[in-house]
Amino acid sequence: MTLAKADLIEAIDRVTAAMERDFDELNAADGALGDGDLGVTLTRGMRAISDMKDDLPDDFGMALFQCAQAFTKSSGSSYGTLMATGLMTAAKTLKGQTEFDAAQISNLVAAARDKMQERGKAELGGKTVLDSLDAVAQATAGLDAPDALADAAAQAVDQALDDIRDKPATIGRARIFGEKSIGMDDPGMLAMQRIVKAAAAR
């Protein structure tokens, strides 16, 4: 099954709505382990994307490139920069295509994860958004049926939170919490759970 611009726009709508809904929760999660702006970062980014969604080009790569730019321009917090990096990576792969095979999703997520790792120099298992993406990449490998993909991705972001919750934070502002962060969710992983589930309509 293939995905086209209409699917992207629907996903944008759902993610934007989810970020508005979770604004306070994400700020609070980031406030507990960081500087309290993660909800701000994500609503700003998604609003900027939403504002231009009707003008997005049909070329998937160009469309994702513009989404990446929206994040770059609307916020320079770590998460915004990482989101932009990940989107840009997918944009490069999909450049020139007006649709793409859902079976590519696992590879696209894996590539985004790798570029974001290069940019942010965090380890896998370090309790960051990378761990959520890694779980999604693995869980979606080999799938191309939309429901199976959506279910697998949604389950993966939940599972990643459960698996990592009892590890200590190692990166970003949360690192300083060390042992104290055990049992707490990483705000970036929490945000990715909401993003992926909204995108997957789960």
């Binding site: 306070d24 700020n27 406030g31 507990a32 382990l33 960081g34 500087d35 309290g36 702006d37 909800g39 701000v40 970062t41 700003r44 770059t72 321009k73 916020s75 320079g76 917090s77 770590s78 915004g80 920069t81 990482l82 990096t85 940019r119 942010g120 990166i171 970003g172 502002r173 690192r175 300083i176 919490f177 104290k180």
Partner: protein, 333 residues
């Protein structure tokens, strides 16, 4: 929310508009990416440029320290968020007078990622860039991992010392070495009594009881080393000095500067009450205080609390500290 603002979305843009309007003799906006501040009067050709960047909400840090004998340009982010790589690239471009540019900023993930990206952008334009990161907050990592520490008010000394070296006409390598020496010579620690509110979040970043304080808190409300009942000024000053001196012991005869800094709401009256003990402690250690700074140099909007920054001087750094500088918030000489 005890803040005077219009739409929180426009907080930083309106702030910058008023900022350059109030101080046209010092600052002007530059470039298309927005929110890049540079000197009103460009530095002379051949001077090494110094740029910084970081989130808003810390005035005078960062952009207030653009000025003669200090910085050349600053990329200004949203409150507590890094500026974008494009803004940083614009700041680097305007700062370059043909002798290269030092990127001098605080050790925060977002800023590091974006300044790295900005570096990749200006590489194509043959601008020679170096980087020095401030990582002076002793509460944020043990000495073995000092490179992971947050950058806080030590920035003020680094801007001053590197800025003076650049103004004297030293080359990029020397200016970078001075900045690194300055960064290495600084140790800071903060203590917060209340949170600030990020305008767009609309709520305090963290809750803290009316009779509580947190030792070691960062300038964005990052966690410290303990939270407990509010102590007396003398106890607070003593513990902060203990922590700084444990990290950077002083010997009799050492020369130091010290910054007793309000995080925002804490008034100068209380800073002086603290400085009383700070001076007693340094006198007791046999150190000589050079040009102590007491005031609001690096803040978190309306947060209550203080930080101390100890800067150990050698002859070179002391001369650079006393060299002239001028901006709307700080003038020496």
């Amino acid at each position: 929310m005890k803040k005077i603002l219009n739409n929180p979305e426009n907080y930083v843009d309106e702030m910058l508009e008023g900022f350059v309007a109030a101080h046209p003799e010092f600052y002007r906006m530059h470039g298309d990416s927005g929110k890049v501040v540079t000197r009103a009067k460009q530095a002379k050709s051949g001077k090494v440029g110094i740029v910084t960047g970081g989130g808003s909400g810390h005035l005078p840090v960062f952009t207030g320290y653009v000025g003669e004998g200090l910085l050349d340009a600053c990329a200004v982010g949203e409150v507590f968020a890094s500026p974008s790589a494009e803004q940083m690239a614009d700041a680097i471009r305007v700062a370059d007078q043909g002798a290269g540019v030092l990127r001098l900023y605080g050790n925060y993930g977002g800023d590091v990622m974006n300044f790295d990206m900005a570096g990749e952008l200006v590489e194509f334009e043959d601008i020679n860039c170096t980087t020095v990161l401030l990582a002076d907050d002793v509460a944020s990592a043990p000495p073995e991992e000092h490179e992971k520490r947050r950058g806080v008010a030590g920035m003020v000394y680094a801007f001053k010392l590197a800025g003076a070296a650049a103004e004297e006409g030293r080359d990029l390598e020397v200016v970078t070495a001075v900045a690194q020496k300055a960064a290495d010579a600084c140790r800071s620690i903060g203590a917060a009594l209340s949170s600030c509110t990020v305008p767009q979040a609309g709520k305090p970043t963290f809750d803290i009881a009316d009779d509580e304080m947190e030792m070691g808190m960062g300038i964005h409300g990052e966690p410290g080393v303990w939270r407990g009942k509010l102590r007396t000024a003398d106890e607070i000053a003593d513990e902060m000095m203990d922590r700084l001196l444990a990290d950077m012991p002083l010997a009799s005869g050492d020369r130091v500067s010290i910054l007793v800094n309000s995080l925002g709401a804490t008034p100068p009256e209380e800073l002086y009450i603290l400085y009383r003990i700070v001076k007693q402690r340094l006198d007791k250690a046999g150190a000589t205080i050079v040009m102590p700074l007491v005031g609001r140099y690096a803040t978190s909007m309306e947060m209550s609390g203080v930080s101390f920054t100890l800067c150990k001087l050698d002859d070179e750094l002391e001369a650079l500290l006393k060299a002239p500088c001028d901006c709307a918030f700080w003038r020496v000489g």
